[in-house]
Protein backbone atom coordinates (compact mmCIF):
# COMPACT_ATOMS: atom_id res chain seq x y z
CA UNK A 1 0.00 0.00 0.00
CA UNK A 2 1.86 3.13 -1.15
CA UNK A 3 2.21 5.43 1.84
CA UNK A 4 3.60 8.92 2.11
CA UNK A 5 5.77 9.85 5.08
CA UNK A 6 6.56 13.51 5.66
CA UNK A 7 8.76 15.14 8.28
CA UNK A 8 8.94 18.74 7.05
CA UNK A 9 12.39 20.24 6.85
CA UNK A 10 13.62 22.97 9.17
CA UNK A 11 10.82 22.98 11.75
CA UNK A 12 12.72 21.28 14.56
CA UNK A 13 10.88 17.94 14.67
CA UNK A 14 11.87 15.92 17.69
CA UNK A 15 12.11 12.88 15.41
CA UNK A 16 13.50 13.70 11.99
CA UNK A 17 14.68 17.23 12.70
CA UNK A 18 18.33 16.20 12.91
CA UNK A 19 20.66 13.98 10.88
CA UNK A 20 18.46 11.32 9.32
CA UNK A 21 17.04 10.44 12.72
CA UNK A 22 13.63 9.55 11.26
CA UNK A 23 15.25 6.71 9.31
CA UNK A 24 14.32 3.99 11.82
CA UNK A 25 10.71 5.19 11.65
CA UNK A 26 10.85 5.23 7.86
CA UNK A 27 12.22 1.69 7.77
CA UNK A 28 9.41 0.51 10.03
CA UNK A 29 6.75 2.27 7.96
CA UNK A 30 8.29 0.82 4.78
CA UNK A 31 7.94 -2.66 6.26
CA UNK A 32 4.37 -1.98 7.39
CA UNK A 33 3.25 -0.47 4.10
CA UNK A 34 5.41 -2.36 1.62
CA UNK A 35 5.97 0.92 -0.25
CA UNK A 36 6.99 4.16 1.45
CA UNK A 37 7.51 7.42 -0.40
CA UNK A 38 9.52 9.92 1.60
CA UNK A 39 11.99 12.75 1.20
CA UNK A 40 15.69 13.41 1.77
CA UNK A 41 15.17 15.11 5.14
CA UNK A 42 13.94 11.76 6.47
CA UNK A 43 16.62 9.66 4.80
CA UNK A 44 19.81 11.73 4.91
CA UNK A 45 22.14 11.12 7.83
CA UNK A 46 25.27 12.64 6.23
CA UNK A 47 27.66 9.67 6.53
CA UNK A 48 24.76 7.41 7.54
CA UNK A 49 22.13 6.10 5.15
CA UNK A 50 19.96 3.09 4.46
CA UNK A 51 18.88 1.63 1.17
CA UNK A 52 15.68 -0.39 0.86
CA UNK A 53 13.80 -1.11 -2.35
CA UNK A 54 10.53 -0.36 -0.52
CA UNK A 55 11.69 3.20 0.22
CA UNK A 56 11.31 5.80 -2.52
CA UNK A 57 13.52 8.88 -2.14
CA UNK A 58 11.73 11.91 -3.58
CA UNK A 59 12.84 15.51 -3.10
CA UNK A 60 10.27 17.81 -1.52
CA UNK A 61 9.23 19.79 -4.60
CA UNK A 62 8.69 16.59 -6.57
CA UNK A 63 6.91 15.08 -3.58
CA UNK A 64 4.45 17.98 -3.48
CA UNK A 65 3.80 17.70 -7.22
CA UNK A 66 3.28 13.95 -6.78
CA UNK A 67 0.88 14.46 -3.87
CA UNK A 68 -1.27 16.95 -5.76
CA UNK A 69 -1.44 14.53 -8.70
CA UNK A 70 0.61 16.49 -11.25
CA UNK A 71 3.64 14.17 -11.39
CA UNK A 72 4.00 10.40 -11.07
CA UNK A 73 6.99 8.37 -9.87
CA UNK A 74 8.68 5.72 -11.97
CA UNK A 75 10.93 3.28 -10.06
CA UNK A 76 14.30 2.68 -11.73
CA UNK A 77 17.21 0.30 -11.18
CA UNK A 78 19.73 3.10 -11.02
CA UNK A 79 20.30 6.75 -11.73
CA UNK A 80 23.39 8.34 -13.23
CA UNK A 81 24.17 11.05 -10.70
CA UNK A 82 25.78 14.27 -11.83
CA UNK A 83 27.71 16.10 -9.12
CA UNK A 84 27.18 19.84 -8.99
CA UNK A 85 29.66 21.79 -6.86
CA UNK A 86 29.29 25.42 -5.81
CA UNK A 87 32.21 27.51 -7.07
CA UNK A 88 32.25 29.06 -3.60
CA UNK A 89 33.65 25.84 -2.07
CA UNK A 90 37.34 25.99 -1.19
CA UNK A 91 39.59 23.64 -3.19
CA UNK A 92 40.35 21.25 -0.31
CA UNK A 93 36.69 21.00 0.69
CA UNK A 94 35.67 20.44 -2.95
CA UNK A 95 38.25 17.67 -3.20
CA UNK A 96 36.67 16.01 -0.15
CA UNK A 97 33.32 15.95 -1.99
CA UNK A 98 34.88 14.41 -5.07
CA UNK A 99 36.58 11.76 -2.95
CA UNK A 100 33.21 10.79 -1.47
CA UNK A 101 31.85 10.42 -4.99
CA UNK A 102 34.87 8.30 -5.94
CA UNK A 103 34.39 6.19 -2.82
CA UNK A 104 30.72 5.62 -3.61
CA UNK A 105 31.68 4.52 -7.14
CA UNK A 106 34.40 2.18 -5.92
CA UNK A 107 32.79 0.73 -2.81
CA UNK A 108 29.04 0.96 -3.47
CA UNK A 109 29.01 0.63 -7.25
CA UNK A 110 27.09 3.84 -7.85
CA UNK A 111 26.99 5.43 -11.30
CA UNK A 112 28.29 8.97 -10.73
CA UNK A 113 29.34 11.67 -13.15
CA UNK A 114 30.04 14.04 -14.65
CA UNK A 115 31.15 16.67 -12.14
CA UNK A 116 30.67 20.38 -12.69
CA UNK A 117 31.36 23.56 -10.76
CA UNK A 118 29.02 26.53 -11.05
CA UNK A 119 30.32 29.49 -13.05
CA UNK A 120 29.79 31.77 -10.02
CA UNK A 121 29.54 31.22 -6.26
CA UNK A 122 25.96 30.48 -5.21
CA UNK A 123 26.20 32.79 -2.19
CA UNK A 124 23.84 30.99 0.19
CA UNK A 125 22.47 32.92 3.18
CA UNK A 126 20.41 31.47 6.02
CA UNK A 127 17.14 32.93 7.28
CA UNK A 128 14.39 32.15 9.80
CA UNK A 129 10.70 32.72 9.20
CA UNK A 130 8.23 34.24 11.69
CA UNK A 131 7.37 30.72 12.87
CA UNK A 132 11.03 29.96 13.54
CA UNK A 133 11.26 27.61 10.56
CA UNK A 134 14.54 27.82 8.69
CA UNK A 135 14.81 28.93 5.09
CA UNK A 136 17.41 30.62 2.96
CA UNK A 137 18.35 32.75 0.03
CA UNK A 138 20.51 32.13 -3.03
CA UNK A 139 22.52 35.05 -4.33
CA UNK A 140 23.09 33.48 -7.72
CA UNK A 141 20.31 31.00 -8.57
CA UNK A 142 20.97 31.29 -12.31
CA UNK A 143 24.45 29.79 -11.86
CA UNK A 144 22.84 26.79 -10.14
CA UNK A 145 20.35 26.29 -12.95
CA UNK A 146 22.99 26.70 -15.69
CA UNK A 147 25.18 24.02 -14.09
CA UNK A 148 22.19 21.73 -13.64
CA UNK A 149 21.23 22.12 -17.29
CA UNK A 150 24.76 21.21 -18.40
CA UNK A 151 24.76 18.09 -16.24
CA UNK A 152 21.42 16.98 -17.62
CA UNK A 153 22.59 17.61 -21.19
CA UNK A 154 25.69 15.53 -20.42
CA UNK A 155 23.59 12.52 -19.45
CA UNK A 156 22.99 12.90 -15.73
CA UNK A 157 19.58 11.54 -14.77
CA UNK A 158 19.81 12.84 -11.19
CA UNK A 159 21.84 15.60 -9.55
CA UNK A 160 23.61 15.80 -6.20
CA UNK A 161 24.36 19.42 -5.43
CA UNK A 162 26.86 20.63 -2.85
CA UNK A 163 26.74 24.30 -1.89
CA UNK A 164 29.08 26.21 0.41
CA UNK A 165 27.08 27.21 3.46
CA UNK A 166 27.97 30.03 5.83
CA UNK A 167 29.17 28.82 9.19
CA UNK A 168 29.80 30.13 12.65
CA UNK A 169 30.97 27.45 15.10
CA UNK A 170 30.15 29.79 18.01
CA UNK A 171 26.54 30.22 16.89
CA UNK A 172 24.06 29.52 19.73
CA UNK A 173 21.51 27.94 17.38
CA UNK A 174 24.12 25.53 16.09
CA UNK A 175 25.13 24.65 19.65
CA UNK A 176 21.49 24.00 20.54
CA UNK A 177 21.03 21.82 17.45
CA UNK A 178 24.13 19.78 18.22
CA UNK A 179 22.82 19.24 21.75
CA UNK A 180 19.40 18.16 20.53
CA UNK A 181 17.19 21.14 21.25
CA UNK A 182 17.21 23.37 18.21
CA UNK A 183 16.17 23.79 14.61
CA UNK A 184 18.44 22.70 11.77
CA UNK A 185 19.25 26.19 10.49
CA UNK A 186 20.72 24.81 7.26
CA UNK A 187 17.74 22.69 6.28
CA UNK A 188 15.47 25.41 4.91
CA UNK A 189 18.13 26.77 2.55
CA UNK A 190 18.93 23.24 1.42
CA UNK A 191 15.28 22.78 0.49
CA UNK A 192 15.32 26.01 -1.52
CA UNK A 193 18.30 24.79 -3.57
CA UNK A 194 16.90 21.35 -4.31
CA UNK A 195 13.36 22.66 -4.97
CA UNK A 196 14.73 25.13 -7.49
CA UNK A 197 16.65 22.45 -9.38
CA UNK A 198 13.82 19.92 -9.39
CA UNK A 199 11.32 22.52 -10.53
CA UNK A 200 13.62 23.57 -13.37
CA UNK A 201 14.93 20.19 -14.53
CA UNK A 202 12.24 17.69 -13.42
CA UNK A 203 14.82 15.08 -12.43
CA UNK A 204 15.69 13.81 -8.94
CA UNK A 205 17.98 16.19 -7.07
CA UNK A 206 19.16 16.47 -3.49
CA UNK A 207 21.53 18.71 -1.60
CA UNK A 208 24.42 18.37 0.81
CA UNK A 209 26.03 21.40 2.45
CA UNK A 210 29.80 21.96 2.34
CA UNK A 211 31.08 22.89 5.77
CA UNK A 212 34.34 22.71 7.66
CA UNK A 213 34.50 20.02 10.38
CA UNK A 214 33.26 21.25 13.76
CA UNK A 215 35.27 21.08 16.97
CA UNK A 216 34.50 18.05 19.13
CA UNK A 217 31.41 18.47 21.32
CA UNK A 218 31.30 15.96 24.20
CA UNK A 219 27.59 16.75 24.68
CA UNK A 220 26.69 15.93 21.07
CA UNK A 221 23.15 14.59 20.77
CA UNK A 222 23.04 11.14 19.10
CA UNK A 223 20.48 12.45 16.60
CA UNK A 224 23.04 14.95 15.24
CA UNK A 225 25.98 12.56 15.32
CA UNK A 226 25.63 11.37 11.72
CA UNK A 227 26.83 14.79 10.57
CA UNK A 228 30.07 14.63 12.55
CA UNK A 229 31.46 11.31 11.34
CA UNK A 230 33.15 12.56 8.21
CA UNK A 231 34.21 15.55 6.17
CA UNK A 232 31.10 15.78 4.02
CA UNK A 233 27.33 15.24 4.09
CA UNK A 234 27.34 13.78 0.60
CA UNK A 235 27.34 9.97 0.92
CA UNK A 236 23.69 9.72 1.97
CA UNK A 237 22.61 11.97 -0.91
CA UNK A 238 24.43 9.84 -3.49
CA UNK A 239 22.97 6.63 -2.08
CA UNK A 240 19.48 8.12 -1.91
CA UNK A 241 19.61 9.44 -5.46
CA UNK A 242 21.12 6.25 -6.85
CA UNK A 243 17.69 4.60 -6.91
CA UNK A 244 15.39 7.62 -6.65
CA UNK A 245 12.36 7.22 -8.90
CA UNK A 246 12.11 9.22 -12.10
CA UNK A 247 9.70 12.14 -11.99
CA UNK A 248 7.06 11.60 -14.68
CA UNK A 249 5.19 14.57 -16.03
CA UNK A 250 3.79 13.12 -19.25
CA UNK A 251 2.06 9.84 -20.04
CA UNK A 252 2.01 7.20 -17.34
CA UNK A 253 3.27 3.64 -17.81
CA UNK A 254 2.30 0.43 -15.98
CA UNK A 255 4.31 0.33 -12.75
CA UNK A 256 4.33 4.08 -12.25
CA UNK A 257 3.29 5.30 -8.83
CA UNK A 258 0.46 7.80 -8.90
CA UNK A 259 -0.98 9.73 -5.98
CA UNK A 260 -4.34 8.03 -6.56
CA UNK A 261 -2.69 4.78 -5.40
CA UNK A 262 -1.75 6.23 -2.01
CA UNK A 263 -3.31 4.46 0.95
CA UNK A 264 -2.22 6.78 3.77
CA UNK A 265 -0.05 9.71 4.73
CA UNK A 266 1.97 9.83 7.95
CA UNK A 267 2.88 13.28 9.24
CA UNK A 268 3.83 15.03 12.51
CA UNK A 269 0.62 16.12 14.23
CA UNK A 270 1.57 19.82 14.26
CA UNK A 271 2.63 19.97 10.62
CA UNK A 272 -0.62 19.48 8.71
CA UNK A 273 -0.31 22.75 6.78
CA UNK A 274 1.99 21.64 3.97
CA UNK A 275 0.85 21.37 0.38
CA UNK A 276 1.22 17.58 0.19
CA UNK A 277 -0.83 17.01 3.36
CA UNK A 278 -3.59 19.38 2.31
CA UNK A 279 -3.73 17.72 -1.12
CA UNK A 280 -4.11 14.30 0.50
CA UNK A 281 -6.84 15.62 2.79
CA UNK A 282 -8.73 16.90 -0.26
CA UNK A 283 -8.99 13.29 -1.43
CA UNK A 284 -10.02 11.97 2.00
CA UNK A 285 -6.85 9.91 2.24
CA UNK A 286 -6.34 8.50 5.75
CA UNK A 287 -4.02 10.89 7.60
CA UNK A 288 -1.98 9.40 10.45
CA UNK A 289 -0.94 12.24 12.78
CA UNK A 290 2.06 11.25 14.89
CA UNK A 291 3.06 12.88 18.18
CA UNK A 292 6.36 14.41 17.08
CA UNK A 293 6.96 17.79 18.70
CA UNK A 294 7.96 20.62 16.35
CA UNK A 295 7.79 24.41 16.09
CA UNK A 296 4.36 24.40 14.47
CA UNK A 297 0.87 23.78 15.87
CA UNK A 298 -1.12 23.36 12.68
CA UNK A 299 -2.85 20.28 14.03
CA UNK A 300 -6.18 18.56 13.42
CA UNK A 301 -7.95 20.75 15.98
CA UNK A 302 -6.70 23.93 14.33
CA UNK A 303 -8.05 22.71 10.99
CA UNK A 304 -11.32 21.44 12.50
CA UNK A 305 -10.47 17.83 11.67
CA UNK A 306 -9.98 16.16 15.01
CA UNK A 307 -12.55 13.42 14.27
CA UNK A 308 -11.34 12.57 10.79
CA UNK A 309 -7.65 11.84 11.30
CA UNK A 310 -5.92 8.92 12.97
CA UNK A 311 -3.79 9.80 15.98
CA UNK A 312 -0.62 7.88 16.85
CA UNK A 313 1.46 8.46 19.95
CA UNK A 314 4.61 7.13 18.25
CA UNK A 315 5.88 5.94 14.88
CA UNK A 316 5.53 2.37 16.06
CA UNK A 317 1.81 3.00 16.65
CA UNK A 318 1.63 4.74 13.27
CA UNK A 319 3.17 1.64 11.66
CA UNK A 320 0.45 -0.47 13.30
CA UNK A 321 -2.23 1.81 11.87
CA UNK A 322 -0.65 1.67 8.40
CA UNK A 323 -0.53 -2.12 8.58
CA UNK A 324 -4.19 -2.19 9.63
CA UNK A 325 -5.13 0.00 6.66
CA UNK A 326 -3.04 -2.18 4.35
CA UNK A 327 -4.92 -5.25 5.59
CA UNK A 328 -8.29 -3.55 5.19
CA UNK A 329 -8.98 -3.39 8.91
CA UNK A 330 -10.93 -0.51 10.38
CA UNK A 331 -8.54 1.22 12.83
CA UNK A 332 -11.53 1.90 15.10
CA UNK A 333 -11.96 -1.85 15.63
CA UNK A 334 -8.54 -2.06 17.28
CA UNK A 335 -9.45 0.06 20.33
CA UNK A 336 -12.01 -0.07 23.11
CA UNK A 337 -14.61 1.10 23.69
CA UNK A 338 -15.75 0.43 20.16
CA UNK A 339 -17.45 3.59 18.86
CA UNK A 340 -21.23 3.20 18.54
CA UNK A 341 -22.65 2.51 15.10
CA UNK A 342 -23.90 5.65 13.47
CA UNK A 343 -27.63 5.53 12.73
CA UNK A 344 -29.01 7.70 9.93
CA UNK A 345 -32.45 9.19 10.58
Amino acid sequence: MPTLMLVPTGIGCDIGGYAGDALPSARLLAAASGCLITHPNVMNGASLYWSDSRLHYVEGYGLDRFAVGEWALRPVRRQRIGLLLDAGIELDLAQRQIQVAEGCRASLGLDIGPVISTDAPLDVTLERGASGASWGRLGCPDALLRAGERLKQAGATAIAVVARFPEDPENEELAAYRQGSGVDVLAGAEAVISHLLVKHLQIPCAHAPALDPLPLDPQLDPRAAGEELGYTFLACVLVGLSRAPDLVIGDRQPGDLDSMQLGAIVVPEGALGGEAVLACMERNLPVVCVANLCLLSVNADALGLSQSVLHASSYSEAAGLVLALREGLSPASLGRPLPALQRLV
Binding site: Y61, V192, H195, K199, L272, G273, E275, L296, V298
Partner: protein, 46 residues
Protein backbone atom coordinates in the same frame (compact mmCIF):
# COMPACT_ATOMS: atom_id res chain seq x y z
CA UNK B 1 -13.98 27.89 3.54
CA UNK B 2 -14.15 24.09 3.11
CA UNK B 3 -10.83 22.34 3.64
CA UNK B 4 -10.90 20.95 0.10
CA UNK B 5 -10.57 24.50 -1.22
CA UNK B 6 -7.91 25.73 1.20
CA UNK B 7 -4.82 24.62 -0.75
CA UNK B 8 -5.90 26.10 -4.06
CA UNK B 9 -7.00 29.30 -2.31
CA UNK B 10 -3.56 29.71 -0.67
CA UNK B 11 -1.79 28.99 -3.97
CA UNK B 12 -3.96 31.58 -5.67
CA UNK B 13 -3.07 34.20 -3.05
CA UNK B 14 0.64 33.40 -3.35
CA UNK B 15 0.63 33.45 -7.14
CA UNK B 16 0.32 37.22 -7.01
CA UNK B 17 3.75 37.38 -5.31
CA UNK B 18 5.69 35.41 -7.95
CA UNK B 19 6.79 31.85 -8.69
CA UNK B 20 6.12 29.78 -5.59
CA UNK B 21 8.89 27.37 -4.69
CA UNK B 22 7.83 26.24 -1.23
CA UNK B 23 5.07 27.18 1.16
CA UNK B 24 3.31 25.99 4.28
CA UNK B 25 0.52 27.04 6.54
CA UNK B 26 2.49 27.71 9.73
CA UNK B 27 -0.21 28.84 12.17
CA UNK B 28 -3.97 29.09 12.49
CA UNK B 29 -5.26 31.64 14.99
CA UNK B 30 -8.73 32.81 16.08
CA UNK B 31 -10.13 36.23 15.26
CA UNK B 32 -12.43 38.29 17.47
CA UNK B 33 -15.39 37.67 15.16
CA UNK B 34 -15.08 33.90 15.42
CA UNK B 35 -13.13 33.50 12.21
CA UNK B 36 -9.61 32.24 11.72
CA UNK B 37 -6.35 33.90 10.70
CA UNK B 38 -4.00 31.86 8.57
CA UNK B 39 -0.24 32.41 8.67
CA UNK B 40 1.59 31.20 5.58
CA UNK B 41 5.33 31.23 4.96
CA UNK B 42 6.53 30.86 1.41
CA UNK B 43 9.70 30.96 -0.66
CA UNK B 44 9.17 32.79 -3.93
CA UNK B 45 11.66 32.71 -6.79
CA UNK B 46 12.20 36.20 -8.20
Amino acid sequence: MPLVELRSWIRHQLAAEGEVLRWALTAVGPTSDGGRTLHVEAVISA
